[in-house]
Symmetry: C2
């Protein structure tokens, strides 16, 4: 690699030199580069277009572009616009600095939630507190595992991953009315890895993928890592807007649509059977692949027929994991698809992970799921979460934050902030009060959710949460 | 995705119709497509060029191309040659059939080793039998873990992975004379995942990467998955041929060179300090990044200064794992590089794995490595392996198979087969006798190692092994 590279500097050292607005634009470009939304050599957004999307004046964008050009990060091409310099490296040293410096992008919430200590309040994070998890079953499973066969403790996994867990999943599918052979199941390291593997298989740089607006922020991160174009369609209280969904398919010919059918992240919407049928019909009409990220369905009080249940594996790919319900420390996810696609995915999994996920991990999951106390735990948990959703929704309402919808399950409340409060500003200010929030725009491919915030009810038992929130809002 | 795709058929159904040679060429093209060495729409090698590289007559290639064109897998463009059909899917249904059908490619050994049962003899596989591993330490660590903190059992990892294990690795580096801050270490799911992550960061489709011939077959698999061009340089008993190494750098401007500095897979060569210094000097002269895959160094009787020790992290990236020495079931690897690159890799690891590797996995590794009995185990193991290398080498010599070199450690013997014996044919025949072998050409980017075989001495305690080998050779 050519080592005469341009390093993207920390925000701090230019903060003073430029106006807030200019600096916001500069950092936005840096983030696009570091997150690979912009590749070296790629053309930057037009000045007018970027100005309106950032909601600043064109002159501000001009100033920002000129400054970045002066730093050698981008360069101007006569009459054709600005481009990322070919030897600009896609990483930003600003990340070494205090995270406060970091532009709020899809990685913002992940890294804040994953790396900040337990002293922080985390209404923004994507999982439950450890003491809400089935630790009893896990400890029991670990003791059992300590007596397991040498092979289980030392050998690599088979390319598909442990057959006992695949058979168990196949039985669960059968209970849903989905006929799946264990060989149609591929175990992976996580739902994230499942989607990443599918992207490797289905996508090529420049392809288009359909997502919802809002959607799980890490979908955007994965798709950016695969250098594909994201097309988004508004998400309503009954699911994706079907008219615009079909429109987008016709116009952009995306390779697939990825979403959650039950307890959509962040909105909490669960598709009605009719809605699922409608999406499937449109997808069939235009031969579109549907990827159903199913990580939250176990939180539903009752099973509702989802895309896979209605469509089978002809065009629907189901992926899931055990991170939300069982443990995020035991990394394990899966992909369910047609046999020949599993076969194709195997080589990719061998190349990139050398076989299936940790046998120790899959055995722990298998043992827990066969443990009666785990099923009891889930029943109790659903009730506990229902209560928490009601209480947190009421507490938030008292400080002017309204739930957009009351989900049928899970731990998310997608909520509208008081008039005039920007969720990114609120999140940045809250971080200084040791509180991690999940601002709406990190979920929004169109950056149009600035008035929304995603709250995790299981992380909001401490009354302090609401005091800090209202203080911070008051002092914005 | 357009579903009117061409499926690549199993070899079986055309085997009869065509001559061995033609079928070999046809399957080679299929493999290139399924392994993504050839993308849909991409131009096939010229008839003359492919003929000489496959060592067949041009007319054989013509016949093969015509046949593939008839099947719609490729098409001819007047005066410009043959191209992969745009809707040919890069997977091969032949993989559903008996594995015997499968062309011997870099995935062949992986999948045979990972998926065949314990009834098989596996001189070809890349790990030791479970009863050679430190199972005592593992069981102890699991019992300890069953009493661990709830957070450890349930939470996601931090983006870099557990700090206690990173500190321990940093101390090991210090003992090697390498100054590394724990923040320069990124824990991953495996050495394979480490290299994959680095490829995502450093490579773009069409880039070139330098490897040795022979080299670890999965390097080729990963690089193919990233659609880059592999440039290979012959490997000698003292390491890579330095003259050709520098020549290749000048001619092809590769992004990096990846190899094992100690106990090179498959040859078992360990670089002398002089050789390491020479490679580093050439790399510095031409500003080349070196990736040092260090998974085998713990098997060395004494530590020898390797690339990272000599060059630091300026241009050397160290990666490793615990799969060979501790457990392949506990998935954990690492990357050591400069701080700003770790920062850049973090976002990629968040996007594709949602944070660092399983805290349960990293805690197991950490506990074992701090367990005195593990260190004792490693000392005993080194002696046991030394004995096994001598014995197996002698046993193989008796049936005319000569070790190319006696490695200073580890479990591989790179061996020359008797005159006229083709290792791929031998491997295919041995598989019918329930024996998995690692034929030379899966390690050879130039397919020029057909007279070599890689043996794993820890898997060859059963005298049957040698009987079967000599029988199969006799009946080829």
């Amino acid at each position: 690699m050519n080592c005469t590279v341009t390093i993207i500097h920390t925000v701090g050292d230019i903060e003073m030199a430029y106006g807030q607005q200019t600096q916001r634009v500069i950092q936005a470009v840096r983030t696009k580069i570091s997150s690979r939304a912009l590749e070296p050599g790629e053309k930057l957004p037009s000045i007018r277009g970027f100005a309106s999307s950032m909601n600043v004046s064109p002159s501000t964008v001009v100033e920002a572009y000129d400054r970045l050009a002066a730093e050698g990060i981008i360069f101007a091409r006569k009459g054709s616009g600005f481009y990322v310099s070919p030897n600009t490296q896609p990483f930003t040293v600003s990340e070494i600095g205090p995270h406060l410096d970091r532009e709020i992008d899809p990685f913002w919430v992940s890294r804040q939630s994953l790396d900040t200590g337990s002293e922080m309040l985390k209404p923004g994070c994507g999982w439950m507190p450890a003491d809400w998890m089935p630790t009893g079953s896990l400890r029991k499973a670990l003791r059992t595992l300590s007596k397991a066969d040498d092979h289980l403790l030392c050998d690599y996994a088979s390319t598909r991953g442990a057959s006992n867990l695949r058979r168990l999943l196949a039985r669960q599918f059968a209970a849903e009315g989905i006929e799946a052979d264990p060989n149609q199941l591929l175990l992976t390291g996580s739902a994230t890895q499942s989607l990443d593997l599918l992207c490797r298989f289905l996508l090529r740089p420049g392809d288009r993928v359909l997502i919802s607006d809002p959607c799980y922020f890490n979908f955007q991160a994965i798709l950016k890592a695969h250098q594909v174009e994201m097309i988004s369609v508004p998400y309503t209280k009954t699911g994706v807007d079907c008219e615009q969904f079909e429109q987008a398919i016709l116009e952009y010919k995306p390779r697939f649509y990825v979403s959650n059918s039950s307890l959509h992240n962040p909105t909490g919407v669960t598709l009605s059977p009719q809605a699922a049928h409608q999406i499937l019909t449109i997808a069939s009409r235009h031969d579109l692949i549907l990827i159903e990220d199913d990580v939250f369905s176990e939180f539903m009080p009752a099973m509702t027929p989802r895309l896979t249940a209605l469509g089978g594996f002809d065009r629907v790919i189901r992926l899931g994991s055990f991170s939300k319900t069982l443990s995020a420390s035991v990394r394990c996810g899966y992909i369910a698809t047609k046999p020949e696609w599993v076969e194709a995915l195997l080589d990719l999994q061998v190349a990139t992970n050398f076989g299936g996920p940790s046998p120790i991990a899959t055995e722990l999951i298998y043992t827990c799921m066969n443990d009666g106390s785990y099923r009891k735990h889930m029943e109790t948990l659903r009730m506990r979460l229902a209560k928490a959703r009601r209480e947190v929704s009421a507490n938030l309402a008292e400080i002017g934050i309204q739930s957009w919808l009351m989900p049928e399950g899970g731990f998310y409340l997608w909520s509208r902030l008081p008039e005039g409060v920007d969720s990114a500003e609120l999140a940045r200010a809250a971080l200084q009060q040791n509180m991690v929030l999940a601002p709406g725009d990190v979920f929004s491919p169109t950056q149009s959710m600035g008035h929304f915030m995603r709250f995790n009810v299981s992380q909001m038992g401490d009354p302090m949460t609401y005091e800090i929130l209202s203080d911070v809002i008051a002092n914005l």
